[in-house]
Symmetry: C2
Subunit: 393 residues, 2 copies
């Protein structure tokens, strides 16, 4: 049969990363291609105890239909935590989503018609770029410098018309960069001047292992034009699929309607577990523990890069998150590099998986340091380092 | 701030039912308005034991990221069960979704451009109608008779062009009707002749408490044009949000890409629990137990209707599912009836919540018999019965 699929999905492709991950699940492959939390980062004992207690004491509440907005005690706990960070104010509302990805998808659906312009850092998170593509949105990738998205280039695009700007200010995926406070203020100022919405995606903000926290763009927002998306995936468990959006009540109301027709509500047991981890355990101590894990893992990778990589390769030095971004000199053949890396048992993600125009040539690749074991980090950097010296001297 | 939301969501409203449910959560209200499984229908002991075992023995698998297609052992178990019913064949594939609602939403997104025509039984399930509306699809409601959707009217619409037909052949929501085998064959024949896709939504098919099973439309499908959606919500737990789609691999591939950008994958612990309930327990005995519960509850409501309702009210006599559909004589004032019912502490859902054009006048209302207690079923029917006699004699 010759199916007539919608225009929205005709050219939509599975995430290049998830396809690479399928290839690299063979034993013997060192995968720097994933974005999974470290297995020892999960609060397994707490989750086990809480799940057991809920299913003993209140099983029907955990199994019956619930409200689309999310489990009320979890919404309150999220609000309280976000208030401490200056993200939530009394003017805002919160909805629980099925992971951070759904937060971005539903924000896109709520605001953007087909053909409307969404700007994003270039490179950016492929999962969200694909979500935007799935609504036939016009993507504009805007290059970054070390302080984040280029403000002059953003303004140039804004003059032509942007409806939504998607940014990951903390430990950006894939670059690992943080947007500076000055740049955040500038971006917000441009949003007000040129009247666009900012979708601030912050899945990694809790995972800072060096330097000082920078206030969110949402905390600067006096007009109600910033939609802040967060997630429990990197701090509790991604398999549970629990995230949230904090924004003006008018925006949350639209997202709730879109969520109602999508999955009715998020798995309720998972919401109850997140609520109790936030409120009954020492969540700050848990976060500190995660930061220790990722600081250690990052330091192993950074040392491996210093010891092995060609000095001609530029590598970002993230202060948190899960990713390092490496760039070979201009003209380097990235597809050939990634292919050779896999042949030598190391998988990385080629940079064009993250660009608004995937056909744009890039000489960059993304490396993840949270998923591999310590030994794999050492060994993988040796193999990749040798390869960089063969490729670019 | 004056938000410029997308055209898709501008006129989208929260489900009328879910709004009614919020109103009726006050104590003292007898709600016939919900569609929740009976609390004693949940396999609580099994879920408790399985969850505990998984979190003891394999916690990381239950907490880490997983694949979009769904937990492989659950997909296989679903295929095996659907194969027994003639729904799954070797030519098909299966994807696990976050509830049955997501199955319909992603099928809509995969096939329909804005303005494309989707036909559905009129009345039909408001959650899916709203999902279709959220993609700016053109809805055509097609009336039913006792055998299901009117074939002549469907053909009339098909001649003008239908891209997808949405039907709930078993114990339809809200009417409780079953589509006859002859009508299923006729509908499939029309789909082949006029080249449209059939989305066969079957959340209630397992809940037959009288009569004989009727083969699904999917089981008649030789061309790969039927998308079959099922759910664990009514047989295990709706709070878990686990459903599935069975269709041709090309269709499943598109739904998987749409799901990947929506919520990446369905909560994995819930998928593992459904898998083990399907494979390690006597699932047929569990289903038989559910049928006993709903047969008993339906019989209480049916008796209450016979004893109390005006003979001028036409009431469907479902052989399964969760709903009864009552129709007052032409000219009856349904908004006034529902308002009076709530004032006397009984909530029902007015029929226009389920029509393709919610402004169409209806004289029908939906009653649910799975959620109320036995006492509430008796008392609620007495109150409603008195009201029907006051309204229509």
């Amino acid at each position: 049969m010759n199916y007539k699929f919608s225009d929205k999905v005709l050219s939509l492709k599975p995430s290049a990363i998830r396809e690479i991950l399928k290839m690299t699940s063979q034993p013997g492959i060192i995968s720097f291609a994933a974005g999974n939390p470290a297995p020892d980062a999960f609060p397994v004992e707490h989750i086990r105890a809480i799940a057991s207690d809920i299913l003993d004491r209140d099983p029907i509440a955990a199994l019956q239909y619930s409200v689309t907005e999310g489990y009320a005690p979890l919404r309150e706990a999220v609000k309280a935590r976000l208030a401490k960070k200056g993200v939530y104010s009394e003017r805002d509302d919160v909805v629980i989503t099925s992971g951070g990805q759904q937060a971005s998808e539903l924000t896109c659906k709520s605001f953007l018609n087909e053909g409307d312009v969404l700007a994003a850092e270039d490179p950016s998170f492929v999962g969200c770029l694909n979500a935007f593509r799935s609504y036939n949105v016009e993507l504009r990738g805007i290059p970054m410098d070390d302080e984040g998205i280029d403000a002059a280039l953003l303004e140039e695009q804004a003059k032509k018309g942007i409806k939504v700007l998607y940014v990951i200010p903390n430990f950006q995926n894939p670059s690992g960069r943080c947007m500076s406070y000055a740049r955040r203020k500038k971006v917000y100022e441009l949003a007000c001047r040129y009247d666009f919405i900012i979708l601030e995606d912050d899945p990694y903000g809790e995972l800072r292992f060096a330097g000082e926290d920078i206030p969110s763009i949402k905390s600067l927002d006096t007009e109600g034009r910033v939609v802040y998306a967060g997630s429990f995936s990197k701090v509790v468990s991604p398999g549970m699929r629990v995230g949230f959006v904090c924004a003006a009540p008018e925006i949350i109301a639209k997202i709730v309607v879109c969520k109602q027709v999508s999955d009715v509500h998020t798995n309720i047991l998972a919401q109850m577990i997140c609520h109790r981890i936030l409120t009954e355990y020492d969540f700050e101590a848990h976060i500190a523990h995660l930061r220790d894990i990722y600081r250690r893992k990052y330091n192993i990778m950074a040392q491996g890069i210093r010891d092995n990589f060609s000095p001609l390769v530029k590598v970002t030095e993230p202060q948190g998150g899960l990713f390092v971004w490496a760039t070979l000199p201009e003209g380097a053949d990235m597809p050939a590099f990634c292919k050779a890396a896999v042949e030598r048992t190391v998988a990385v993600v080629p940079g064009n998986a993250f660009t608004a125009q995937p056909t744009d040539p890039t000489t960059s690749f993304r490396m993840n340091f949270s998923t591999p074991t310590d030994e794999q980090l050492v060994k993988g950097c040796e193999i990749l380092g040798t390869l960089t010296r063969e490729f670019v001297g």
